[in-house]
């Protein structure tokens, strides 16, 4: 948390346009991260969200184009959300009804979704997005003109991230559903004995991740102005790193929205500054790996000390 806060201080030094850029590029990571946060809090892990995002993004774009649809982007978000939701529920069935380890389920389903998309649906990049999505991508909340005459603005899609963050925050902190998710992560058996309906919650959790991933997919397509089915998959680690960096424990029961948001900004900032500093891109993996190890290492150490202090072990 501390590191995340210090890291947040860095972007202040950047120009307004870079700050807006940062907000824009953190939106997709952020939406994914909020979903991952909910899963991690419940004691599971999901590595299929990027595949779900790519799937919903591509299928939605192709469907809307095929229907020759000219309406607003809301429909695109709805459609992608529904596709994402159903793919997420697919995961949930395996987790909730077959009680399988979540890592292996989502590892399998990620490969399944990606294979389905690239093997059977299509591999060509959609360059002419549906009209509504193009309009959405050009919308900005406010504009400022820079000294050199270019205008820059904060994209509306960032608002989606803010809204999603508020929603997840309320969900986790203020609802019975959310408290149950924390309880599951703390101790599944105890949560079950305490009367929480585990199965229903797992259906909700994985469905919710799918929904968010679908929305994130559309945001990504709007930002990129194309729908590339090869995109998104491969960023799973960055997202998980962001969430873990934000203080969420992979063994469940711990994690906050604020921490996750800070973690997302830190990860995006690190990747962004590596580019700005002209660090060759092949260093990026080393840095991501180190960030994951150092942050999880610190969390693990401090937890160990706390446990020792209380004298539990």
């Amino acid at each position: 948390m501390m590191i995340a806060a210090i890291g947040l201080a860095n972007p202040v030094f950047y120009s307004l346009s870079n700050l807006f850029d940062l907000c824009k590029s953190s939106t997709v990571v952020g939406l994914f991260a909020l979903g991952v946060l909910v899963v991690l809090v419940s004691g599971g892990i999901d590595v299929s969200f990027a595949a779900i995002g790519a799937f919903s993004m591509y299928v939605t774009s192709r469907t809307l184009l095929a229907l020759d649809f000219h309406g607003s982007a809301v429909i695109a978000f709805l459609l992608a959300g529904i596709i994402g939701l159903s793919l997420g529920l697919f995961n949930a069935v395996f987790v909730a009804f077959f009680r399988l380890p979540t890592l292996i389920v989502t590892l399998g389903s990620a490969s399944l979704f990606r294979g389905l998309l690239l093997g059977f649906i299509g591999t060509t990049i959609v360059n002419n997005l549906p009209e509504g999505m193009v309009r959405f991508s050009k919308l900005t909340m406010w504009n400022s003109t820079l000294a050199n005459g270019t205008t820059t603005g904060l994209s509306w899609s960032f608002l989606l991230f803010v809204l999603a963050a508020l929603l997840v925050g309320l969900l986790l902190q203020r609802t019975m559903l959310g408290r149950g998710i924390y309880a599951m992560g703390g101790n599944l058996v105890a949560a079950e004995r305490a009367g929480f309906n585990i199965r229903r919650r797992q259906l909700f959790i994985y469905g919710f991740v799918g929904l968010l991933s679908g929305v994130a997919g559309i945001v990504h397509a709007c930002t990129m102005r194309n729908a590339n089915p090869f995109d998104l998959v491969g960023m799973e680690l960055n997202v998980i790193a962001a969430v873990v960096l934000g203080g969420a424990g992979i063994t469940g029961g711990r994690g906050t929205v604020l921490g996750t948001v800070l973690g997302v900004f830190l990860i995006v900032t690190i990747n962004n500054s590596l580019i700005l500093l002209d660090v060759p891109s092949y260093w990026q993996k080393v840095v991501t790996g180190l960030v994951i190890l150092v942050s999880t290492g610190i969390t693990a150490r401090s937890r160990a000390q706390r446990v020792r202090g209380v004298g539990l072990c």
Binding site: L100, I104, F113, G115, L116, I240, A241, Y282, W283
Partner: protein, 339 residues
Amino acid sequence: MRNRAKTRESSLFRLLVVTLAVFASMSLLNGSRFFSYRTFASMCFQFPELGVFSLAIMISLITGGIDLSIISVANLAGLAAAFVLARPEAASHAGFSVVTAISLALVTSLACGLFNGWLVGYMGITPILATLGTMQLFMGIAFVLTKGHAVAGYPDAFQTIGNGTLLFVPIPLVLFLASSFVLQILLSRTALGMQLCMMGTNPTAAVFAGLDVRRLQLKTYALSGLLAGIAGLIVIARTNSAKADYGTSYLLQAVLVAILAGVDPRGGFGTVWGILLAVLSLQFLSSGLNLLRFQEFAGPYINNFTKEFTWGALLLLVMALRGPYRASVRRSRHESPRS
């Protein structure tokens, strides 16, 4: 105990049926092409890599963890060897450079494995996260060392490891069988094997039984690292090149083989026999699918992505058929115990 032995036998039997079923259906679909000598010869050169990777994953799964970094370790170790082998002067004293390269690769992989083990055992990082991080780290180091280029061109003496035969048996297969044999002995006949299974079944109980869990974790990941290094050597010898991101799809396939083999992903159980059968059935499937490309009715639909789809579907199907795991009775999540 008897109950456990029974389930072990029945799951091996079921696996045998699955393997034969895959074999039969692929032979039916492909006809004589599948039964040719060439198909079998090429299969015998292909599956040992995946087999050794699966053994590496199995070791970590047995202890209740998982080693996601094996592919990165293999590539890094392979690169370490490749740097020695690809030097121009390597050809002139081939014997010396081959020995140096092999030992360098094994030392590298062992070091990577020990690092993983240290992170899991002594730092107390969850295996998933620790190896997720080192997977990135090791692959990143390999990228930095090579700038993304392949390091290729080794002496013939080294390439025999990947392409030669020993008494008509492909050398990769010999290496795989040897590793399986050693691992089987280790798991079933030594105290260490027993301790690994105990730790996987119940880490807390293992601590109270007086086992040094940290050292065991260190040994586990060192062993899986070493196996990954052997796989890396086979890979570079067979392809005559080493690359930072070779064979990333092997990770999912290795997990698939291990699950297919009846290894309990919650820890505590897994056999080498299962791995042997499972890797065979997966290779039949993979080669069969490849051959289907030449058939008119299926050809256009088969590509690398449909294979990816098949792996995923198979993994979920096998687990769903075997499950539900006794989740609420046993440990519901992987957590390394702290003392």
